[in-house]
Every structure is written in structure tokens, then in C-alpha cells.
Symmetry: C2
Subunit: 162 residues, 2 copies
DNA sequence: CGATTAAAGGACAATCTTGTCCTTTTTTGG
DNA sequence: CCAAAAAAGGACAAGATTGTCCTTTAATCG
């Protein structure tokens, strides 16, 4: 239900939030978040256009959050790449009589509204500071026992980095 | 966020719920719900495989709800054609350590759970009996003022029907 | 039985999403 | 100024979703 692109954008955003205020290259982000690099590049462009991140070319360039992680919500990230589309009018043919949805579509829209609301209330900082032992973005090879590892431990391949 | 196929399946299901216990042909359903007929045919096949509707070939055949509209939830319809995919494991690479999601994916899954829950609680009967003047499935040419018309008024083109 | 009706199913086309590759532009450091 | 680094952007390929068309199978009625 959430697109692949949304998933990727969120991974990147959370990673950048964790690494703030430092810039990270597409290559670095791709490696840690396990997103296909060339595709991630496009996703990052969208995040940049939407003002979520700022991009910087050249040496020591990369991407960094445009605003504080406490001000950036998951919803903004989602909407930057694949907007949550609320149902404005009954989707059958004509019907654009304001916000007068039929029961079916009102229910559907209510669910979308709930998602929108939950996402809008959650900032990237919230995600990072969640009171739990598992930390955002998981899945790397780890000591077995912990399900996730902190992002800042997930350094982009020791040795070949800058 | 909800696929086109889900939208179509729900329209058809609500229509059949309204018309129960009578069978309706793909042609009739397609006309009222404004779904491309040939595609609807595939969608109905999925609903039939999932036991949501029963199909009947030949003269006086068509589709009808397999169970009472009070027992069929929106969720079942959705899951029959395009399942709500909860996040079971952190989607990064390996990581299948049970249900130990990182904060990001826990949040996302929570939103999915809310949708699943809302859909699971809503039966087709609920949708039909909503206390409102607008009635499920709308969008036909109407007296202007009402945003929707009852399904049973939306007869499949008077004149060329059976 | 035979004609008609309608779903089932296969093949295929159009479109959108996702993913890859390569060139161009900008920035920085020496 | 020059070389290297890194984003921007274009072109294109693979895959999934959506949509169309036609043939086959099953059911009903006369």
C-alpha cells in the first residue's frame, strides 16, 4: 500500500536525520539504506525539489536535511515523492459536489485521513528518539539478538569511505 | 495508496450487497459502477476465488454475494484482490528477527494496522445502512443537490436490459 | 439437442513504477 | 586553471498494474 519509492525516501530521510547536520552522498545513503543507488538519486532529487533536503554538488557535497528533524514529518517526506491522495469527490464519473462522499468512499477517505494524520504527527526526530532498544533502519548483519543497529554504527563500508 | 483494483472490487461488492440476493452480470455491474467491463471480469474472478462472491454461468447467471453483507467486511474484499501488507520484518536485507521492527517501520506498520482494523470492522451492510442521505456509489447524472443516488435507482440503462 | 447467455481464461497492449546507465553541470581542492 | 567529486538530467529497460479482445467452457431455456 505504501509504494517502494516512499519506503526508500523515508529510509534516506531517517538516515540523513540521524547524520545531521552532515551531508551524505547518494552512494553512502544507498549503501546504508540498501536502496538501488541510481534510483535513489532520483528520489533524492524529488526530496530536494520539495525542500526536504538540500543538495550540494562537488567534493564534500551530498544531501542533508533542509530543516531540523524535529520539524520534518514523515508525511512531508511521503508527500514529496508519492502524495497521500485523499478522496475529494466520489470517483464515479462526474460527481464533484463538494465534499459529499458516499458512505463507501467516506470510509475509505477516513482511513486515508488516519494515515495522513499519523504521518503528519510523526517527525523524523520522533522516529530517531523512540524509546526502544532497536533503532531506525535495521537489517544489517548484527551480533544476533538485537534486531536493529543504530544508524551511526552503520558506517558506509569501512576502508573505502572518504 | 489504494489501488484501482481495490476501488473496483469495493464498488462491485457494495453494488452486489445492495442488490442481494439477486445475481448481477459483469455487464450490469460494470455499467453501474463505471468499471471497464473486461477488467471487472478479472476482478470478479478474484472475488469468486476468495469466496466473497459466487459465480453462476449461463442464462440468469452472474455474480452474487457468497455471504450476507453483514458478514462481509471491506477488508475481506480488499484482501481478495490486493492484500493489505503489514510489515512483518524490517525490509532491509536480512533481518527477520521476529516482530522486532525498528521505530520507522513500526510507525508505518501501525498506520497499516489502523487501516486494516478500520476496514475489518466495516461490513458491506454498514456501508449500505450509513445514516445519511447520500448513498453508496455516486456520480451519475442526478437532480443536482443530492451528491449520490441509491444503487437500486441506478438501473443498468432502461430499455436494453433483460 | 441446440441456441443463447454468461463466466473463465488466455493472449496481448498500454501505462505506470521501478531500476539502470551514461552524459552534463556544478563545486571544491590543489 | 585543472582534476576530481558529486548531483542533475536524459534515455532507456524491466516489471507490475491496468485494460482490451477473443476463444472456450458451462449453464439454462425452449
Amino acid at each position: 500500500m505504501l509504494s517502494q519509492t516512499v519506503e526508500y525516501a523515508l529510509r534516506a530521510a531517517v538516515y540523513l536525520a540521524n547524520q545531521a547536520p552532515q551531508a551524505r552522498t547518494t552512494e553512502q545513503i544507498a549503501e546504508v539504506t540498501k536502496v538501488p543507488q541510481a534510483y535513489l538519486s532520483k528520489v533524492m532529487q524529488n526530496l530536494a525539489k520539495a525542500g526536504i533536503v538540500r543538495s550540494q554538488r562537488g567534493i564534500h557535497g551530498g544531501f542533508l536535511l533542509a530543516r531540523s528533524s524535529a520539524e520534518l514529518t514523515i508525511l512531508e517526506v511521503v508527500n514529496a515523492v508519492d502524495p497521500v491522495q485523499r478522496i475529494q469527490t466520489c470517483p464515479l464519473g462526474i460527481a464533484a459536489h463538494g465534499s459529499n462522499l458516499c458512505p463507501l468512499h467516506r470510509r475509505l477517505d477516513l482511513a486515508l485521513a488516519a494515515v495522513e494524520n499519523a504521518f503528519g504527527k510523526t517527525t523524523l526526530a520522533d522516529v530517531l528518539s523512540e524509546p526502544t532498544r532497536s533503532v531506525p533502519l535495521c537489517g544489517m548483519t548484527i551480533p544476533a539478538g538485537a534486531a536493529c543497529i543504530p544508524l551511526d554504527l552503520a558506517s558506509p563500508a569501512p576502508g573505502n569511505a572518504t
